[in-house]
């Protein structure tokens, strides 16, 4: 586990979106990616709040670049997964895989 510790579920989703988008990972695209791929509603504020935590944990890093007229000249903030972030994602995936391995879920049998 990296220095940031536990990786929350939504954090995983956001970080995976960043990884998928590669060079195109900035706020609007990340939000769209989450909506289209995960089928989840996400507000842009929630996405940034999560990204801020990921940066704080050292799993992602941010770079501001100037934006064009299509966004009123406002800056774009691009994100990239750090090596620690990659390790954290892999750890999370491995953990799930280990916990699922050989497991068959049974329905809950309650006594009448």
């Amino acid at each position: 586990m990296g220095r940031g510790g536990y990786l929350g579920e939504f954090e995983q989703v956001v970080l995976l979106a960043v990884a998928r988008l590669d060079d195109e990972a900035y706020g609007m695209r990340i939000r769209e990616e989450i909506e289209t791929r995960a089928g989840r509603r996400a507000s842009i504020g929630a996405v940034y709040a999560t990204l801020e935590r990921l940066v704080g944990k050292g799993y992602a890093r941010e770079t501001d670049l100037p934006g064009g007229s299509e966004r009123s000249g406002l800056a774009r903030r691009f994100y990239a997964v750090t090596p620690a972030g990659r390790t954290a994602l892999e750890d999370a995936r491995d953990l799930q895989a280990r916990m699922w391995s050989g497991l068959k879920l049974k329905t809950d049998r309650r006594k009448p």
Binding site: Y26, G27, M28, R31, E32, R41, S43, I44, G45, A46, Y48, A49, E52, G56, D64, G67, E70, R71, S72, L74, A75, R76, R77
Partner: protein, 868 residues
């Protein structure tokens, strides 16, 4: 198509500055993309996005602003918080600056003088050898002693040195330059090589060899423009043509002889070589490989015992050795330690004071901290935020302290008398050392961090106020801690003030010590006659008469006389004598002085009995001397000194001298020393080629320039040097200066500490009253008297003050031996001084209580009861 204005403005408002542009930009961008398909859909979408984003944006703002984020965030918050409380920030920064500045300054001095290496390759193995009679150091060695010492096996090489001065002529104005005379291996013993040219060789130490000189770096730069071709040139030194053979490195210093500018070979005269009682040189040596200082000390003890039985003048001799460093700084080390101790006390006081401030503030911030804690800040994060604030204050405090330290150091260096500065290693290069600055900053930040830890720890547990809605007040534990802090400030203030008062009284006592003559209005300068022109005694007497006539002709001068070594400038020449008609004379090593006839009248030294010296006491007439009262009492306790004849071993032919007068004691050494026996010879019967011209003038400072002219009018190659009023010499003496500077510093720090303690007491009381307004109102309503209320309130302030006073008195008593060496005429536990200090602090404590108590007495009952 533009995004809807209202939600956009709301979002902008909610988002922290750092994220505002990118969030709004993202929404704008997607809005435009969606609006291309459907404008109404896009607007609805924008509204939903903005509404859903405001809460996380607010959360983001809290996190960015609060101490949950990165350190730079912490820093921003800290700076903003401090900006909002400028009073607190200024008080804490100034207080810490005081502590840091003092520490930085004193540590810089200690580092320069006591720690920085001496520029000798053999520094750790060079030791000074000296004679001691157990009470004080003797006056060096004779040549025969030095030759005898060179057989010591503990030292692989010995060197002898003494000092004097030479007049450089033929280079513009004649100038008297301090000179050192050293045996040829002197520099090799220290482990120093000239930067230019060569070292002395054995041949240079032989009498009659061509005169040679090695220049100090300063003389080389100042008088010879740092010309590398100076080596090999010939200069005239006191009328003697001397070849410059080398220049010393710029780093070379030799404080025992106050950094001479000319270094010349020591060539003992036939008299110096043949008279084993003529003590005129100091000796240092480099330890042989494998020899420890203790082994050398042992061998010297043994040799000293051999000397005691071998010669009469060695009856009380014991031989000692000390390191070069101790030789140079031994006399100021206790003073420096006192200052170091004082600076630590000031730093502690400052830390205690700031800790108190931090506590008050922490109490006021309980709610804020609780909110943050509830929002998810961990104990570590909260502590970190407070520590970052402490570090900000500490950094600002130590930066200001650095300036204060540099200023204080410059002031100290400027105030330091030249003689003292030249006698201490590196004292002429006093500056804030990087190590001292780092140490000051480190101590300051550490003290502040420690002061902040308690509130941080407390903050971590304080979620209660949020839950209960309690107002911000300090807890009982806080009150206890603040009580302890105020008590320790009072204690430290007492220690500092006691030190200041005791040393200050010593200064006062010393300034009241009569030097034995009327010091006001006296001016003196030194003259050295070049032997080439004034070789004979007659020539010396003649030129002195002409110099005195010229000096007496200066307007405003009421008298001028000559003495070979001035009072207050050290022991100088001494010599034992035998009393004619007695079998044995107890040795007392009286000082030997040569004076012109009107000397006693000029100085205002009283004639006790007999007659003073007269102009008729000249060569060829009866040999006479005047002695001082101490000598008369020592040798003739029942009176009858007049008419006694005495014989000195150092005069050729051992003539008899008749005592014709007894005068009052003059202090020749430091003012804090006892008076010693002195014999005064008529200058005309025992002339000297180097002497002080003493003048009494109505306006002493105004007389200096014309006096200089008067001397040059007699001989243009005779510079008058080392000119000073005698009052200034007394004030600049080591005995006075060190005590005066310590008094001044301790007093400043005591006042600062006392002010801080007073503010602390005031703070506690004000807080107590604020917290107990309701109780006070109740008591008044129930019929409590004014005196009762006063007692109730004062107890809160006076209890810590009382504890502080008691603790301070104990600390002062325990620490008193540390300043014993600085005291004169006052005991370290002087009851009246300590009582005065206690009274001052008690008064300050009462004053600090007065304002809050007045406020308590004016609490309107109804208001108090309505509170809450």
């Amino acid at each position: 198509m533009t995004p809807p204005r209202l939600p956009r403005a709301l979002l902008r408002l909610a988002a922290p500055a750092h994220d505002r542009a990118v969030i709004v930009g993202d929404l704008d961008e997607e809005f435009r993309a969606r609006a291309a398909r459907s404008s109404t859909g896009a607007r609805a979408w924008y509204w939903r996005q903005a509404a859903a984003s405001v809460p996380p944006a607010l959360g983001l703002r809290v996190r960015r602003a609060a101490p949950f984020g990165d350190l730079s965030g912490d820093l921003r918050v800290a700076l903003r918080t401090l900006r909002r409380q400028p009073g607190f920030a200024a008080a804490a920064i100034l207080t810490m600056a005081l502590g840091a500045g003092m520490t930085t300054g004193v540590v810089s001095i200690v580092e320069a003088v006591l720690i920085r290496p001496l520029p000798y390759a053999n520094e750790s193995r060079v030791f000074v050898v000296y004679e001691s009679d157990g009470v004080r150091r003797g006056g060096g060695f004779s040549w025969a002693d030095y030759v005898d010492l060179s057989s010591l096996r503990s030292f692989s090489a010995l060197a002898a040195f003494n000092g004097g001065s030479r007049t450089l002529t033929g280079f513009g104005a004649a100038e008297r330059l301090p000179a050192a005379y050293v045996t040829p291996r002197f520099l090799a013993v220290l482990g120093v090589s000239p930067a230019l040219g060569r070292d002395f060789g054995a041949a240079d130490g032989v009498r009659g060899a061509p005169s040679v000189v090695i220049l100090s770096d300063r003389a080389w730069r100042r008088r010879f423009n740092a010309d590398p071709a100076v080596v090999g040139r010939t200069v005239t030194l006191s009328g003697e043509a001397s070849t410059i053979i080398g220049v010393l490195p710029a780093s070379f210093i030799f404080p025992p002889r106050a950094d001479p500018e000319l270094w010349m070979p020591l060539r003992p005269s036939p008299q110096q070589e043949s008279r084993p009682y003529l003590h005129f040189i100091d000796v240092l040596g480099v330890l042989a490989p494998g020899v420890t200082p203790a082994m050398a000390a042992d061998e010297l003890r043994t040799r000293g015992r051999q000397w005691q039985t071998a010669a009469k003048w060695h009856e009380t001799t014991s031989l000692r050795t000390t390191s070069m460093r101790d030789e140079m700084v031994g006399s100021v080390t206790p003073t420096l330690y006192v200052l170091l101790g004082a600076s630590v006390l000031v730093l502690l006081t400052a830390a205690a004071n700031v800790a108190g401030l931090v506590l008050v503030r922490a109490a006021a911030r309980t709610r804020e901290v609780a909110v943050r804690s509830a929002l998810g800040a961990t104990r570590f994060r909260l502590a970190r935020q407070l520590l970052v604030e402490a570090t900000c204050l500490g950094a600002a405090g130590s930066a200001l302290g650095l300036l204060l330290g540099a200023w204080g150091l410059a002031t100290f260096a400027a105030a330091m008398p030249q003689r003292l500065r030249a006698g201490l290693p590196h004292a002429d290069q006093l500056a804030v050392s990087p190590r001292a600055a780092a140490l000051g900053a480190l101590l300051t930040i550490a003290a502040l961090a420690a002061a902040s830890l308690w509130p941080a720890f407390r903050a971590a547990r304080s979620s209660a106020p949020l839950v209960t809605g309690a107002r911000a007040t300090s807890s009982r534990a806080d009150a206890r801690v603040r009580g302890v802090l105020v008590a320790s400030q009072v204690a430290l203030a007492l220690v500092l003030l006691a030190g200041a008062v005791l040393v200050g009284r010593s200064v006062l006592n010393l300034s009241r010590v009569s030097p034995g003559f009327a010091i006001d209005g006296l001016v003196s300068g030194r003259v050295s006659l070049p032997p080439a022109r004034y070789g004979s005694g007659e020539a010396m007497v003649t030129v002195v008469d002409r110099l005195l006539d010229a000096a007496r002709a200066v307007p405003g001068v009421s008298g001028a006389e000559v003495i070979n070594q001035l009072p207050l400038t050290g022991r100088g020449n001494t010599g034992d004598f035998a009393i004619v008609g007695r079998d044995s004379t107890p040795p007392s090593d009286p000082l030997i002085r040569d004076v012109t006839p009107g000397y006693f009248a000029l100085m205002g030294t009283p004639l006790v009995e007999g007659r003073p010296l007269r102009p008729s006491d000249r060569k060829g007439s009866q040999r006479v001397v005047v002695v001082n009262r101490s000598l008369a009492r020592f040798y003739f306790p029942n009176g009858g000194a007049l008419g006694q004849r005495i014989v000195f071993g150092f005069f050729d032919g051992k003539p008899e001298w008749t005592i014709v007068g007894v005068v009052g004691d003059e202090q020749f050494d430091s003012l804090d020393r006892p008076m010693v026996p002195v014999v005064y010879f008529p200058f005309a019967q025992d002339p000297d080629d180097s002497f002080s011209l003493v003048v009494r003038a109505a306006a002493p400072d105004a007389a200096i320039a014309p006096l200089r002219g008067a001397v040059t009018s007699v001989d243009p190659d005779l510079p008058l040097y080392g000119i000073s009023t005698l009052s200034r010499m007394a004030a600049d003496s080591r005995a006075m200066f060190l005590r005066a500077i310590v008094t001044r510093l301790l007093l400043w720090f005591a006042i600062a500490a006392l002010a801080l303690a007073g503010v602390g007491i005031y703070g506690i009381l004000a807080e107590t009253i604020a917290a107990r307004t309701r109780e006070i109102g109740l008591r008044v309503a129930l019929g409590a008297t004014r005196a009762g209320i006063v007692r109730l309130v004062m107890r809160a302030g006076l209890a810590p003050a009382g504890i502080g006073l008691a603790a301070g008195a104990v600390i002062a008593a325990v620490a008193s031996p540390a300043i014993r060496s600085l005291l004169y005429g006052v005991s370290p536990l002087d009851p009246s001084s300590l009582a005065a200090v206690l009274a001052v602090i008690a008064v300050v404590s009462l004053l600090a209580c007065a304002i809050p108590v007045r406020r308590a007495l004016r609490v309107p009952v109804a208001t108090a009861l309505r509170q809450d």
